[in-house]
Each structure stands twice: as structure tokens, then as C-alpha cells.
Amino acid sequence: MSRLAIGLGVAAVAAAATAFVLTMPKPVQSARLETISGLEGDPVAGEAVFWAGGCASCHAAPGAEGDALKVLSGGVRLKSDFGTFIGPNISPDPEHGIGGWSVADFANAMLAGVSPDGGHYYPAFPYGSYARMSDKDIADLFAFLKTLPASATASLPHELGFPFNIRRTLGGWKLLFFSDQPRVALASDDPALVRGQYLVEGPGHCGECHTPRNALGGFKTDAWLAGAKNPEGEGVIPNLTPGGKSIGSWSAADIAYYLESGFTPDFDSVGGSMVDVQKNMAHLPGSDREAIAAYLKALPDRPDGWK
């Protein structure tokens, strides 16, 4: 065997080993998991996190309303450029849901996109946003989820083509795009703005639809909340920045009222997939909706992200 072939062979093995290490699922640091495990979760506070996080929009049965939104049997189909994701059962059922999980398992899922068996979750589950959530919110939300009814509906597999059906590739995606850092630098540390940033960039995961993505499904970071093509088909997801045509002319009070009532300043109504989001937001305290509005008004202007 020539020296060149040996050299190439060694390089290939080294590259494969590097790729293997780089794409390994990385759970939350053990010290943080210990902290979270030591917290006493408050299910009442957790319900507010549940609505802020929009859990029911993907994890309740399709078309669920009212109390049925709290039966997290899964089944909602989320179309994307990579295939169709199907929200899994996250009810407290020990077999089909997350009844057998510890709060550390839950924290790994929410904050690192890592499953209890050590695999990657697809970022259709928006852990890229949830990664910003506080220890307390994670513990409270988990405590709330445990109070909900169990459902024995089996989760369905996602419908994805090659290579997106290889979960290990998500290690590369995380390497390129996963971040728990702020999406924008705010000019002020006004508590309402800070709270708004937390809600929008963290549990609210607004950027998941309102920010355009590149070909690999990562955010275009210079177009935060600038609006995007509708991944589910025709039409667009509006631009939320203050200079955009979509809601640029709205006052902070208009935005807060829209999130509360579903009415725009022209008394048009909320539509599309925002209908469910708005219903979730209506459950939040008014101060949280005002904080979201304050943050959106403080965003840097961006041209429409779908153009």
C-alpha cells in the first residue's frame, strides 16, 4: 500500500472520528441539571409557562379547543421544507408520553434538544428558542405538565426523506446554528424590555416562524423577526420589526391588544397559524403582553425577510 493511500486512510478515519465527536448529542451541564432537579416546581406558575410556550399548538390533538388543549396526545402535522413533523404525545402517560421522565430528562429536551436515550431532537421542536428559558420556568412547566391527563395515543414517526431522517445529522445543524445567546442586543435594561426579550426569544419562540431561514434551516441572523415565507404553503409570516409594513405602524398598545383580543388596529382579526398563538397569548398576564410589545417596538428595523 502506498504511503499516500495510508495517509488518505488515516485522514479519512480522523475526519470520521472528528465528525462523530462533533455531532454527539450534548446534554445540559450536570451542575445545571442538579440545580433544576433541586427546585420545587410550581404547577400554577407552570401553567403560564405552558401558554407562553405554545405547547398545546403542536402537542394537543389537531383541532383541539378549550380543556382538550391540555390533553397532550400529539398528532399535529407541521409541514416544512425538510418533510412533515408530527407532534408527539407529551402527556404524563408512562408508555406513550413523558410520564417516566425525570425533570433532568425534561431539561435536556427543552434546553439542549437531547432525548432521554441520548439522541437529538429535530428543531421543529423549538429547543433552539427554549434554550433561553430559566431553571425555574423549566421546573414549573414540568410540574404543570405532570398535572395534565394521561393519553395512551401512540406518537407517530415524522415523515422525512434522506438525509433528514438521520438524526445524527442534527449534530451538525446544532454545531452551525444552535445558540442560547440573545438574538439582538437591546439598548436598555428596562425590566419590561428584558421580560419581553425573554418571552419572545425564549418560551414564545416567535422567531421560529417570523425569522427567515437559510437552505440548511438555520436562521438568517441579520433578519431577526423580519418575517418569512410561510413554510406550510402560500403567503407570508409578517415582519415584526418596527420599520416593517406588517405591523410597523402599530403602537405598543396595539400589539398588546392584538395579542389579547385578536384584533388589529383596523379591527381586522388574527388569522392563519397565529390564531392558536394569539389564543395562547391571551392566557398570559397583561404585563407579559405589554412586555412583548415593548420588545418588538425596540427591535432593529429590518426589510421584509421573505423578499
Binding site: 410561510n230 404553503g233 402560500e234 403567503g235 407570508v236 409570516i237 409578517p238 415582519n239 409594513k245 406588517s246 383580543s261 385578536g262 384584533f263 383596523d266 379591527f267 381586522d268 382579526s269 388574527v270 388569522g271 392563519g272 397559524s273 390564531v275 392558536d276 394569539q278 389564543k279 421584509d304
Partner: protein
């Protein structure tokens, strides 16, 4: 020959004028109806929120006009009006006509209930306002697409 050219020129000219008659296009009519609806809802919302004093006559005029819009609205989605004039109508209107017709019938029924209730004070208005508006989003969820 000259006559034929003249006729052709006239026809082309008429075709060219068509956009000037945009106000009659169903896409435009239905948009104007919804704008009128929004204006009337605004009158009611301001009263419900306490930003304007309750006025029974104004409220009834708004409710009557909303019912008028609801009765007329469904007629302006003929085949061929799927696109154009910045329409935000979703393809689902035509692919799921029965579902759309049912949603419009619900709108008409909700509007009639509110109009017939003829609220005489603010509490009565508040009582009809919720049921009147609860289906706006449900219909827009499926049958409207945002373009901007």
C-alpha cells in the same frame, strides 16, 4: 380593413380600460366589505373597552351593517377571483367550498343574533360582542393568507 383595425383597436382599448373598473371586481368588493366590517367593529370595540361612551343607536347601526356585510360577503368569491388585486383569500375557499360556505353562514347567523338582541346598555353589548367576534379568527385561520 380599416374598419376591422378600428374595431380591433377599440377592443384592445376596452381591455386596457378594465383595470379602471377595479371597484367592481369581486376581490375589491369583498375587501371593501371587510373594511366596512372592521370600521363597524371598531365602533363597538371602543364602547366595550370604555374608550367611547355607549350609544345604543350607534351600536345598533354598526350591528345592522355588520349583518348586512355578513349576508352579502359569501357572494363575492366566484371561480376566477382566486388571485389578483392583492387578494388574501386562501385557495382553501375554492378547494373546500362547503367548509367556507358553512363558516360564512355562521358569520351571518352570529351577526343576526347580535343585531336582533338590540343591546340597550353596555353590559348587553358586551354580552353580544364575544359571541359575535369569536369566529373571526376561526375563519381567517383557514381561509385567509397574509401577503405582507
Amino acid at each position: 380593413m380599416i374598419i376591422r383595425t378600428l374595431i380591433a383597436a377599440t377592443l384592445i382599448g376596452a381591455a386596457g380600460l378594465a383595470p379602471a373598473l377595479a371597484a367592481d371586481e369581486p376581490q375589491v368588493v369583498r375587501q371593501d366589505l371587510m373594511k366596512k366590517n372592521g370600521k363597524d367593529l371598531g365602533v363597538l370595540v371602543k364602547m366595550v373597552k370604555g374608550e367611547a361612551p355607549f350609544d345604543a343607536a350607534q351600536a345598533q347601526a354598526a350591528l345592522t351593517e355588520i349583518h348586512g356585510v355578513a349576508s352579502e360577503f359569501g357572494a363575492y368569491f366566484p371561480e376566477g377571483s382566486e388571485t389578483g388585486f392583492d387578494t388574501e383569500a386562501a385557495p382553501a375557499i375554492w378547494s373546500d367550498r362547503a367548509g367556507f360556505d358553512k363558516a360564512v353562514a355562521q358569520f351571518e347567523a352570529d351577526a343576526k343574533t347580535a343585531m336582533d338582541a338590540a343591546p340597550a346598555d353596555l353590559d348587553a353589548l358586551k354580552a353580544v360582542f364575544g359571541p359575535l367576534t369569536k369566529n373571526c379568527g376561526a375563519c381567517h385561520e383557514t381561509y385567509r393568507l397574509k401577503n405582507s
